[in-house]
């Protein structure tokens, strides 16, 4: 199992890679590797989570993932949150802090209309992992799909 120190290094490389990616990204094709919510973390613990080997392997690659769409907390946000089950938040949610760990933040390549939250969707795009704060909203995410598009399934 990788130690946190090496994980940090890996993440820095990844963020560098992610900045370059938008220029090289192309739309995902059918047959891209798929990722499930059960496969996100290799280890859960009070002192931190560890991304799974599969997430590390697929990082920077085009993937597909099924889930449910939760609207972002702020209307102007350029992303939405992909959840394993249709989700509502606690009564006092005022920040990203109240989301569970197993969410994926989706940045769309182009605007798409929102679908009903009970509708299963499949998102395709480029997987990215590591702590990252959305500059506009301050929303901190651990996993993202960028240059994404989605469709109802």
């Amino acid at each position: 199992m990788e130690k946190f120190s090496s994980l940090r290094l890996g993440r820095r490389h990844l963020i560098g890679a992610a900045i370059a990616l938008p220029f090289t990204a192309s739309l995902a094709r059918a047959g891209d590797p798929s990722l499930t919510f059960d496969e996100l973390y290799g280890k859960f613990g009070v002192l931190g989570l560890e991304f799974s080997g599969r997430v590390k392997m697929l990082a920077g690659k085009e993937i597909s993932m099924k889930g449910f769409m939760a609207p972002p907390l702020k209307a102007e946000a350029q992303f939405f949150v992909l959840t394993e089950v249709p989700m509502s938040l606690c009564p006092f949610c005022s920040s990203d802090a109240d989301w569970p760990d197993n969410i994926v933040v989706v940045y769309l390549g182009e605007k798409q209309t929102f679908v009903q939250p009970s509708q299963t969707i499949e998102v395709r795009g480029i997987l990215e992992y590591g702590s990252w704060q959305d500059p506009e909203t301050g929303f901190v995410s651990l996993l993202r799909i960028r240059q994404a598009e989605y469709s109802s399934v």
Binding site: V46, G48, A70, S88, D96, Q116, Q133, L142
Partner: protein
């Protein structure tokens, strides 16, 4: 003068005139003074004094007197003058005066009058002292978050059973011999939340919804509001007693936070961790490790790189992260930090029985009983005594999503923690036990659901009046919990408010209920995951569509107590009055001789 001629009439006229002034003053955006009118203040307890004027004035135009004297003489300091406070988008709010950390040691009424140009305002505070000698050495304050009458009745029936209308056994909370009804409303609304309610218990001052350990001022920052002293801080200031905080929620959540913290906004959880470290409770157990981890660590919910695990360890804390480590550290030297989940700990039904929720990810979480035992073992080693706060956090967290089975099973666990406290009290009679909710929920038991009733429509299986009969829960292994909750004739608890949702008439065995989910218009709609449960019926919500769950009720909570000092609880009391009984029990307002 008419007043001497007919006192009765003139009093009525006076009241009418007073009411009219109040309304007019409200409309004209009058000045605000914190602490508010009718505040009750423990003698010697530090608090911040703030005056907010609705206009910009010069400092020489402001006159403040206390009981007719210049305020500086009575309050012992000069307030900082803020020429212009600004709101959101730099909106001009007016001038302000702020004096932090003042103390009043002599009990009595303090009338504070301010005049600034054409603005005037006056408030009266009541400063009180306490008995000179403590009544008890220890206080165990057990709070069931959201604990309502329906929860305890359901817990009694589910846990003990009922025959021919008489309970087959009693809960531990049933035998506390003093009680009071507690009014829970906030300073800014008749409705209330776990922040302002616990803050009132823990400071003696009521405050606004979402606020902890402060009065809610008008400026946007949530960390600059006028502070009042918390019970944790008062215990630190005046005694050598130990402090323990135990919760099944995140330890930064409103209830545990309010023992020590100061913020206008309960969601400042990353800041609350720092406030916990400032006060350094000897025992701190619960969930919420995500706010202790620097942001680079996956799972962190901080926005900085502070490693609070290390900061607590550097401050002499032993760390426990699961049930085994909690047991192993039960009698270790030093302080104890136990964090058993990144977020809220799983509820009893999932943790101990169904293994749903996040139990697969955090399989070895202790329960409230384990945590309470360890806390008492450690705290009772201090010959000076202790204050322990124990919260059954998830009674509320499961009542919001209308998951009544989970809320009631957590109430049973909470009652078992009360049992641990009562056992401790038998060998340590110098201990005051207080058991209370912080606010209520809009829920009642209205009968049973009986699967054996004819037909397929679940609604027709609801039994009311004589048709309800008695539920058939069994506890054959004698652990105090029903052997299963999905028995054929079970209690039917029903909310009087909620979002659109599907009522399934069945326990949610697959995991906590999610009644409503949000659509793209930010409206909550019924979660269709439950639509196809056989017999489920659509229930139209009666709350705004922005509400995702059931809400707190404004009904009084029932407080019960036993032990030295418990006689202070009786009749109707404001939540802030509870603090005074706690302070009196420890003699925190006794005249200081040194």
């Amino acid at each position: 003068m008419t007043a001497t001629k007919n006192g009765g009439f003139s009093m009525r006229m006076l009241l009418a005139a007073f009411a009219a002034t109040t309304i007019l003053a409200g409309a004209a955006q009058a000045a605000s003074i914190y602490p508010l009118d009718r505040a009750t203040i423990l003698a010697g307890s530090p608090f911040d004094f703030k005056v907010e004027l609705s206009k910009q004035v010069k400092p020489e135009d402001v006159k403040i007197t206390v009981n007719g004297q210049d305020y500086k003489t009575v309050l012992g300091g000069e307030a900082q003058f803020v020429e212009l406070e600004k709101g959101k988008e730099d909106k001009a709010l007016g001038s302000a005066l702020l004096l932090r950390g003042l103390k009043i040691s002599a009990p009595g009424a303090y009338k504070v009058e301010i005049a600034a140009g054409d603005e005037t305002k006056s408030v009266t505070w009541n400063v009180y002292d306490t008995a000179a000698q403590p009544k008890a050495k220890n206080i165990i304050f057990l709070l069931g978050d959201g604990l309502s009458v329906a929860h305890r009745t359901a817990a009694r029936i589910m846990s003990k059973g009922m025959t021919e209308g008489k309970a087959n056994g009693r809960l531990n909370m049933d035998d506390l011999d003093h009680m009071a009804f507690i009014g829970t409303s906030a300073t800014n609304a008749v409705a209330t939340d776990s922040a302002n309610t616990m803050s009132a218990f823990m400071t003696g001052h009521k405050t606004a919804v979402n606020a902890i350990g402060v009065y809610a001022d008008r400026t946007p920052s949530s960390l600059d509001d006028p502070r009042v002293e918390t019970f944790g801080e008062a215990v630190r200031r005046l005694t050598k007693k130990s402090i323990g905080i135990v919760a099944t929620s995140e330890v930064e959540d409103a209830t545990p936070a309010a023992v020590v913290a100061h913020t206008r906004n309960r969601s400042d959880k990353a800041d609350v961790v720092g406030m916990l470290l400032d006060v350094k409770p000897e025992v701190l157990l619960g969930g919420g490790s995500a706010y202790f981890l620097g942001k680079e660590v996956a799972g962190s919910k901080r926005k900085d790189n502070q490693d609070y695990i290390k900061l607590f360890q550097d401050a002499g804390y032993k760390l426990a992260t699961d049930k085994n480590e909690l047991g192993a550290n039960a009698s270790a030297e030093g302080n104890l930090l136990g964090l058993f989940h990144t977020g809220n700990m799983d509820v009893t039904l999932d943790r101990e029985f169904l293994k749903k929720g996040t139990v697969d990810k955090f399989p070895n979480q202790p329960g409230l009983v384990d945590m309470t035992k360890v806390a008492l073992d450690r705290l009772s080693k201090n010959p000076e005594g202790f204050f322990l706060m124990v919260e059954g956090s998830s009674i509320d967290k499961m009542s919001h999503p209308l998951d009544w089975d989970r809320a009631v099973v957590d109430t049973i666990e909470f009652d078992k923690a009360i049992g641990v406290a009562r056992e401790f009290q038998k060998t340590h009679p110098d201990t005051l036990i207080v058991v209370t909710g912080d606010h209520t929920h809009g829920v009642s038991i209205i009968g049973t659901v009986d699967d054996e009733k004819p037909g397929t429509e679940m609604r027709e299986k609801v039994g009311t009046y004589a048709e309800a009969g008695f539920p058939n829960y069994k506890d054959e292994n004698g652990d105090g919990y029903p052997d299963k909750i999905d028995v054929s004739r079970r209690l039917f608890l029903s909310a009087n408010n909620g979002p659109d949702h599907y009522e399934t008439f069945r326990p949610k065995l697959e995991g906590p209920f999610v009644p409503a989910i949000q659509n793209e218009k930010k409206e909550y709609i019924a979660n269709e995951q439950y639509k196809d449960v056989p017999g489920a019926v659509f229930v139209q919500g009666n709350l705004p569509k922005s509400s995702e769950s059931g809400v707190h009720a404004v009904d009084d909570v029932v407080l019960q107590s036993a032990g030295p000092g418990a006689e202070g609880f009786h009749g109707y009391m404001e939540q802030s009055d509870v603090y005074r009984v706690l302070a009196d029990t420890f003699a925190l307002g006794a005249k200081q001789t040194n």
